[in-house]
């Protein structure tokens, strides 16, 4: 016999049968109870060898009707000694029995048969325990926020298949094979289920998959991994093992990815350093060739002769000069258009010439004197002639002075016009000079900008490499967090003994009633058949 004699199901079956022997009369039990129990034990071993637990179930389905029937007959025989068992059985359905007694007897037998079968099956089925581990999932994209910056730095895209993908990965070979190896399941389950021969990994994984249920926890990022086993500690170990294997898978995947990225970054760094070297050499060459004076290391453009502020100042001065010149030109044109008698009176308002003002005052006084003397003297009077001569002299002087002022104004306007032209020329020349120098040194500055870009990129690469190295050193536990470890279950989840017994009792009542009604109907018919000829006779 391959099966160990101490297997729990066998022991339980034998103990149960030992108890069920109480259905037989005491005398029969004392005489044959031990032999019957021994025979049943032998049959159990045969059944276990043939079909394991299912063989036991089949045996019980065969034994229970035998037990109910023979115990009933033995008890009947003990009450009615001297009659053969089959005769007693025939008497059981004899016409002398009332339908009610037939119903009660059949109901009792069927009920006991069904209920006992349910009880036997319930008690001999191996107990199954369940343990659940819960893990919190974080996507790869989300996890970068935990290690290399805030989540805001890494916008996360929604993956609707993430949970389903995770389920498939957990049930995949990469995860389950680690569980099988870690817990040595090939040997352990081979000893238990394969007559001691170790299972291969694919067979063990298939068994493990059948025992595993993965479910999402609603409205969370948690998933529950439940594993069933007949050993409560093994169920917990399996559940924790699966969670740990998945966690290791995610961590190793991330590390492989990070290592690959680091290699690429380091290759890019080497390439960039070579480009920097080349760019620096080219820059030195251009500086010498183009005779560039570059005192500012941070500058990436030529220094203009006219900076922006100076150009603005010059532009403002130029505008002021142009505006003043135009104003003077306008005034000069107006003065030139005036008659001489009006011009002599307009000029003092525009200029602060005191000589002209004095001459005009003297002219005014002389004309006033002439007017007063004209009342007293004739036109040829010497006093009139004298005053008239003074007036003529003053007019001549005033005209000369006005002409001088006009000449001065004209000269000033011309001078201002020349100044504006010169200023404009200076600005234009400075601009042209700057443009020429810029065009000449453009290759140098472009090379310098390129070098600056390369240096900036090199700096970013260095920072990224340091961050990646840091990621490698810090284990990314946040990828899969085991929130609730699996613990050994306190009670088996299968079979549900109270439920099975209740269902067995209900089925027993139903089937017993049906069988009892049928038997009672048959008994009633036999009574009528027998009583009919008697009544006729």
């Amino acid at each position: 016999m391959n099966a160990p004699a101490t297997h729990r199901s066998l022991e339980l079956s034998c103990q149960l049968y030992q108890h069920l022997l109480a259905a037989y009369p005491r005398s029969h039990r004392e005489e044959y109870g031990r032999a019957m129990a021994q025979l049943f034990r032998d049959q159990c071993r045969d059944a276990w060898t043939e079909g394991r637990a299912w063989g036991l179930v089949t045996l019980w389905f065969r034994i229970l009707p035998d037990l109910v029937k023979t115990s009933f007959l033995e008890r009947w025989a003990s009450l009615h000694p001297g009659k053969f068992m089959t005769a007693k059985l025939n008497n059981f359905f004899s016409p002398g029995r009332t339908p009610l007694a037939t119903f009660c007897a059949v109901f009792t037998v069927v009920f006991l048969l069904v209920f006992t079968t349910a009880a036997i099956v319930t008690f001999i089925l191996p107990e199954t325990y369940a343990s659940t581990v819960r893990i919190r999932l974080v996507t790869d994209e989300e996890s970068y926020g935990y290690t290399t910056g805030s989540p805001a730095d890494h916008p996360v895209s929604y993956d609707p298949y993430f949970i389903q993908t995770t389920f498939e990965i957990i049930q995949s070979q990469v995860v389950l094979s680690n569980v099988v190896n870690t817990l040595n399941l090939n040997a352990k389950w081979g000893k238990r289920y394969n007559n001691g021969e170790p299972l291969n990994t694919s067979e063990t994984m298939a068994v493990l998959k059948q025992r595993m249920v993965i479910q999402p926890v609603r409205n969370t990022r948690l998933i529950a991994i439940t594993v069933y086993s007949e050993d409560r500690q093994e169920a917990a170990d399996l559940a924790n093992g699966v969670a740990k294997a998945y966690q290791d898978y995610r961590i190793n995947s991330r590390r492989e990815l990070t290592r690959g990225g680091l290699t690429v970054l380091q290759q890019q760094l080497t390439k960039t350093e070579a480009e920097i070297q080349t760019a620096q050499t080219n820059l030195d060459y251009l500086r010498t060739k183009l005779n560039v004076i570059d005192d500012n290391a941070d500058s990436v453009n030529t220094t203009p002769t006219l900076n922006e502020q100076v150009v603005q100042t010059y532009q403002q001065q130029l505008l002021d000069a142009q505006r003043t010149g135009k104003s003077l030109q306008s005034e000069l044109a107006d003065l030139k258009a005036m008659a001489k008698d009006k011009l002599r009176y307009a000029l003092p308002t525009l200029t602060s010439d005191t000589s002209l003002k004095d001459l005009l005052e003297k002219l005014g006084a002389a004309e006033q004197e002439l007017s007063s003397r004209t009342n007293n003297y004739g036109p040829n009077h010497p006093k009139i002639v004298e005053v008239q001569a003074v007036i003529n002299t003053l007019n001549t002087q005033i005209d000369e002075r006005a002409a001088g002022i006009m000449a001065a104004l004209t000269s000033e306007v011309n001078a201002r016009q020349a100044s504006v032209t010169a200023l404009q020329a200076s600005i234009d020349q400075a601009k042209a000079s700057d443009e020429q120098e810029q065009a000449q040194t453009r290759p140098y500055w472009e090379a310098k900008r390129e070098l600056a870009n390369l240096l900036d990129f090199h700096k970013q690469l260095m920072a990224k490499i340091e961050t990646t190295k840091l990621d490698l050193q810090i284990p990314p536990r946040a990828l899969v967090e085991i929130t609730d470890s699996a613990l050994p279950g306190n009670a088996p989840v299968k079979p549900n003994q109270p439920l099975n017994l209740v269902l067995g009792a209900i089925a027993g009542v139903f089937l017993g009633s049906v069988a009892g009604i049928i038997a009672a109907t048959l008994a009633l018919r036999r009574i009528r058949l027998i009583s009919k000829p008697a009544a006729q006779s």
């Binding site: 029969h28 032999a35 019957m36 025979l39 065969r62 035998d66 023979t70 033995e74």
Partner: protein, 129 residues
Amino acid sequence: MATVNTNPNEFLPLTPAVFHVLLALADGERHGYAIMQEVAASTGGQIKMGPGTLYGTIKRLLEIRLIEESDERPDPRLDDERRRYYRLSGMGQRVVCAEAERYAAMVEVARGKRLIGKSLNPATLGAVL
């Protein structure tokens, strides 16, 4: 205690269980498990007697003295000395022979009516019985 009959025909016909047990003991004394195995083997595994039926039958056969319990115990090294061995009594031997002859006569009748062939599979015969 049942009445002791001296005429084997008075026991006939035998129930199938009784006939199978007597047939199993025809080769010599056996214990209960061996009887059950012999019955299963002779019927091609179609009849596997439960402990209740087997020991109920044995009890009845002991009462009417068709079999008797053997006082001899096998070598404990070869078998479990707690097992109880049974063997046919003289009357049991005659009864099983009479029943077998009765079946043989019936088989001949059936063969004469061409209901069965010349040779009959023992397992089929056992299952029919």
